[in-house]
Amino acid sequence: MATFEYEGVSIQVDEDGFMEEPEKWNEEVAKALASTEGVTELTEDHWKVVNYLRDYYLKFGVAPMIRKLCKESKYSLKQIYELFPSGPAKGACKVAGLPKPTGCV
């Protein structure tokens, strides 16, 4: 576990930079995490994806299926890669403060 600091925000992250304590997520944390993903500014499009992920996570306790994310957020996989260059799981989910899925994935 390591501490990541960015513009006054201090969070605990794992080796891949994912939040260790997802319950401590807030919009400032999202901006801090976005900086590690090469996203300098969170636009309205970014927030729509992040907020969808956040709501889903609070309801279901995990990340959504990628196909479901695309269908319900109305962003194609290509668009999500444009917004978050590491992709939906490693990029968007990280910014939204979700833990990494593990197992046969």
Partner: protein, 544 residues
Amino acid sequence: MSSDMPKPEELARVSFQPPESDWMDTPVQFKSGTYNFPAAKKNVEYLKMPNPHAWAVDDKDWMLGDKWKEKILDGISDRLQKFRSFSLFMDICVRCGACADKCHFFMGSGDPKNMPVLRAELLRSIYRKNFTVAGKLLGSLAGGRELTEDVIKEWYYYFYQCTECRRCSVFCPYGIDTAEITMIGRELLYELGLGINWALEPAANCFRTGNHLGLQPHTFKDNIEFVVDELETATGINAMPSFNRKGAEILFITPSADVFAEPAIYTLMGYLLLFKYLDLDVTFSSYASEGGNFGLFTSHDTIKSLNAKMYHEAERLGVKWILGGECGHMWRVVHQYMDTLNGPANHLEVPRSPITGTVFENTRSTKMVHICEFTADLIKHNKLKLDPRRNRKVIPTFHDSCNPARALGLFEEPRYILRNVCEQFYEMPENTIREQTFCCAGGAGLGNDENMEMRLRGGLPRGNAVSYVRDKHGVNMLACICAIDKATLPPLVEYWAPGVGVCGVHELLGNALIMPGESEERKAGKINLRAEEDDDESEGGGDV
């Protein structure tokens, strides 16, 4: 994939020049991209394993705890008495070298400590020094060495560069199963609180929520409902299954990745269409919602309790028998461990296909049938109407997943299905399939991103065989029957054999099955389960 990954032509230039120093004097070097991150403390605690602590591979002090040497030696002693196989494997190796070049990690890395004989020697040398007269008296002359912290670090590196695939054991004249040595090596590391997160978090999740992914019951159900909706869009068929239904004839258990990840969800669509077609009296469980068993990569105790969950649920629901999905290591556990650990499952009946009447005699003690056996039997009895032209764009080869192949001997059934649902089928070279199959290099807990370079190195032999049939026969699809494969083979083929996709056998079956009430588009073969549309009129399709 990370942009700093070496290019395939660079990675393929493997040096087989060993280090100048003797292996005992060559310290382990942890290179980024070739090792796995430690298990998070919370997961070690959740599994009630010893010495939970936060640590990192590049820490000088791994905080092994008090009396760590005694714990390791006691651990070896206990297991020598408990496992006759382990005791034999420590003594009988004559170092003939038959296994040396059979390991995919050795082939792809050139590191001598990835020769199965030397991987075993990492542990055997400690055994010799402490448990044999010759080793106690003669030390390194008799192949013994001192137990030090560096030995522990070396174990951590190399016992997690083995996918427990058991290809080496096929070639050992003594039948030494290096996977079992790796398993014991890992158990010993757990005595000191040293595990990898990719193995322990899924195991902890499975205890907590019923599956490796940590899907709670409502999430598990919601995911399947979403897949059912997508399936209906692609086919016009509503194939909603039942959940936790008492009194069903059959309990169906599949890897949780089948209800979460691509391309595994298309395999789930194939199962659902098949069950609908047959009007099978089958139910899913949100408690036994995992076919896989990451206990196999953790410890014998964990294997046992995760496996027991499936049988408890079968008993609670009152089903007659269990049908298992396209999973790899589940079948090693069921076929080779279940009966001793939790069996025999006398509360269930010997599985009998309600459609063909076939009794699956081979499952008399486990009461659990592989879906490929079940489906192949249906095709053999002419119970399925199939239209292989719907898969006309797919030219598949078959990757034998290590465990169904080497632990279950399931060679013919998936091939029989593929030949019946596709117009073409080509085999990879014979020393890369069936019992000699090459691993995806991401099994046994190693399928994480931080270990990607080592996965791709270990994936070289499989990738090489795939690119061979791609170039020779135009193969464009690698079919397999394991959820780890479906997660780890896509980056492998993207790297070593671009242009080839990955799918499950039951995805292709689902494409070919002629369903009553299906959409005109599907009937004409213009849309597949992935909802990929094909407007190429000239090649036809439709009923034949």
